[in-house]
Amino acid sequence: MKLKKKIPVIDQGNKLGFWGGKFGGNFVPETLKKPIEDLESLFNKLKEDKNFIIERDKYFKNWVGSPTRFIKLVNLTSYIGGAQIWSKVVSDANGGAHKIYNATVHCLLAKRSGKKIICGDTGAGYAGKMLSMAAKKFGLKCKIFMGAKDIKRQQPNVRAIKKNGAEVIPVYSGSQTLVDAVSECMRYWVANCDTTAMCVGSTVGPAIFVRICGWSTSQISRELKAQLISEFGSIPKKLKLYNCVGGGSSSFGFWNEFMDYNKKQCEFIGVEAGGPKKSKKHAAPLTYGSKIGILHGAAQYVNQNSEGQIEETESISAGLDYPGISPLHCFLKDTKRARYTAASDEEALNAYKLVTKYEKLRPSLEPCHAFSVAIKESKKFSKDTIVVVNSCGDAYKDRGILQKRLGKKYAKSN
């Protein structure tokens, strides 16, 4: 299995949509074959269309807000006393997280295809919130599928989705989290694909959705590359990019533009959700060696039992609480381009405490997983090592959990 240079990773799948010959693909019901083919040819055409790129960039710049900040965490760096710790504050983007890129692109595609309705899944509520924002912006009706458990724990985002005029459809099946929301959303699309476009909220699902999402979030690394060059004159000799990994959309987008660099120069570190310290459940299929299986239309490493039933996950962060992982990350793992590890709920909470103590930054629980590992490893790195953590979400949505786990003090903004 080999990662090719000079070809975007999203375009490195084979004819049937498999990366490395075995990750991804299109394990879908016959009914979805045609809508997927239509979306594929539309996307393949538009991504080469200069006018479309101009249109996308216009919305990214003026509406999403580009570029998001790239800042040095000065206090944290001196407290840790190792590598220079920087952050790409992607939560600056309109809506407060990276999900806006994929949502915007899907709405642009839906408009082009003449669809009037768009449906999407959400875990932490960000994908849903952003899709509802973009749908409103582009005049599309919007339906968001969300697990009943997530609705309870991510209320601020649920309210935002409703405020944008979208319908929130609670999903009560299975574990009532993201995995079930994606299933239900796909079922809805099976039944309504003639009138409705679907947006999969991460780099998961049938191959075309993996590609569209990866293409959209790559905005993050396009910005970062320019920011690194403007800050350091060139890409630093020792660069380490830390990102949390749930489905894998923010991390893929954070790394994409650096793919062709030698990994000794640009190392990618993906941090999965290890779940509660004392629990056997986790959402870290790459770290804990899960077997390849099929989930939501794609072959990937996925938490499952020996029979092939998908296993329930557990994580404090709803956005990482997914039993599978993008085929792109399976590919990056097996080609050894990226390194994957996990942080527990407790480690993420500690990272939150530390980051908010030293910096004016409030990363949500998802990026706190990445911060946790970045902080731990930075201690051992030389001072000329540049560590960048993608702060891909804002903690506003987590204040209920933060208050419960860390006390009132941490639930307020600083």
Binding site: L16, G25, N26, F27, V28, P29, E30, T31, L32, K33, K34, P35, S173, G174, V179, D180, S183, M186, R187, V190, A191, N192, C193, D194, K291, G293, I294, L295, H296, G297, Q304, S306, E307, G308, Q309, I310
Partner: protein, 266 residues
């Protein structure tokens, strides 16, 4: 030797009616009960589809999901599904059985081992919901070697070009999904419209047996009589759920439902 599925279609044609196909979930609500249900259905149904329950089914509506979750909760394993089929075949060796499920269940069991088990337990056909054409080419070939029909699915969204290719590559039986829906959806198109699409497929190769499924109930089954076969699934799962809730015997209730369905297509 002729696959019993083909024999079942022939027999139905001789009787001037469509074949009646039923779908129930293996292990719903228990291993033993699902076997008893199959035995009771077999009196009136021509072909039995047995669902391999999966906990992330992307094409099933709430009725089949409920049955599948119930079966998994009660501990059904892939191994025991083959035992159910084997037991059933001891009781009625000529009645064709088709396993229907999602690819991950086969993938984890191992394709080769799965097909061997199909062969030894007496499975006559396979429907894999999320393994469409052309992804299923290799697997379909492996099925053929074991004299097991791999049943292709066709949908109203399948393009003409695709229809032609799929039919050409198909084994004797294919399955036409009546409308854009998950299983058990309310029929949102008229039976007339369904039959129009159906005839279009039949014309490609009239010799192939094509069944219609999704959303078929006691009310609508009679209007689709001209098809080679009709599948009822969610309505049966619903009856099982209803029976369990009202503390009645699902075995006799489902048996009665199938008799009624059969009457409508005679």
């Amino acid at each position: 030797m002729l696959n019993p599925i083909s024999t079942a279609f022939k027999k139905a044609k001789q009787e001037n009616r469509p074949a009646l196909l039923t779908y129930t979930v293996a292990g719903d609500s228990t291993k033993k009960q699902s076997l008893e249900i199959l035995k009771s259905i077999a009196k009136n149904a021509d072909i039995l589809e047995v669902g391999v329950p999966h906990n992330t089914p992307v094409a099933d509506g709430s009725q089949i999901q409920t049955s599948a979750y119930r079966a998994i909760k009660n501990g059904i394993k892939t191994k025991s599904i083959f035992q159910i089929v084997k037991e059933f075949k001891k009781f009625n060796k000529d009645k064709p059985v088709i396993l229907m499920g999602y690819y991950n269940m086969i993938f984890q069991y191992g394709e080769k081992k799965f097909l061997n088990k199909c062969e030894t337990s007496g499975v006559n056909g396979l429907i894999v919901v999320d393994l469409p054409w052309p992804e299923n080419k290799d697997f379909a070939k492996k099925c053929k070697k074991k004299s097991i029909f791999f049943i292709q699915l066709l949908s109203p969204t399948t393009t003409n070009k695709r229809l032609n290719k799929i039919i050409k590559n198909s084994h004797q039986m294919s399955y036409f999904i009546s409308m854009l829906s998950t299983t058990g959806g309310k029929l949102k198109v008229t039976p007339k419209e369904i039959l129009k699409n159906y005839q279009k497929i039949k014309r490609i190769n009239p010799k192939k047996d094509i069944v219609i499924g999704f959303g078929i109930t006691e009310k609508t089954i009679g209007k689709l009589k001209s098809a080679d076969g009709v599948v009822v699934g969610s309505a049966i799962c619903k009856e099982i759920t209803r029976s369990l809730k009202s503390r009645q015997n699902p075995v006799t209730n489902v048996g009665k439902l199938i008799a009624k369905l059969k009457n409508k297509i005679k």
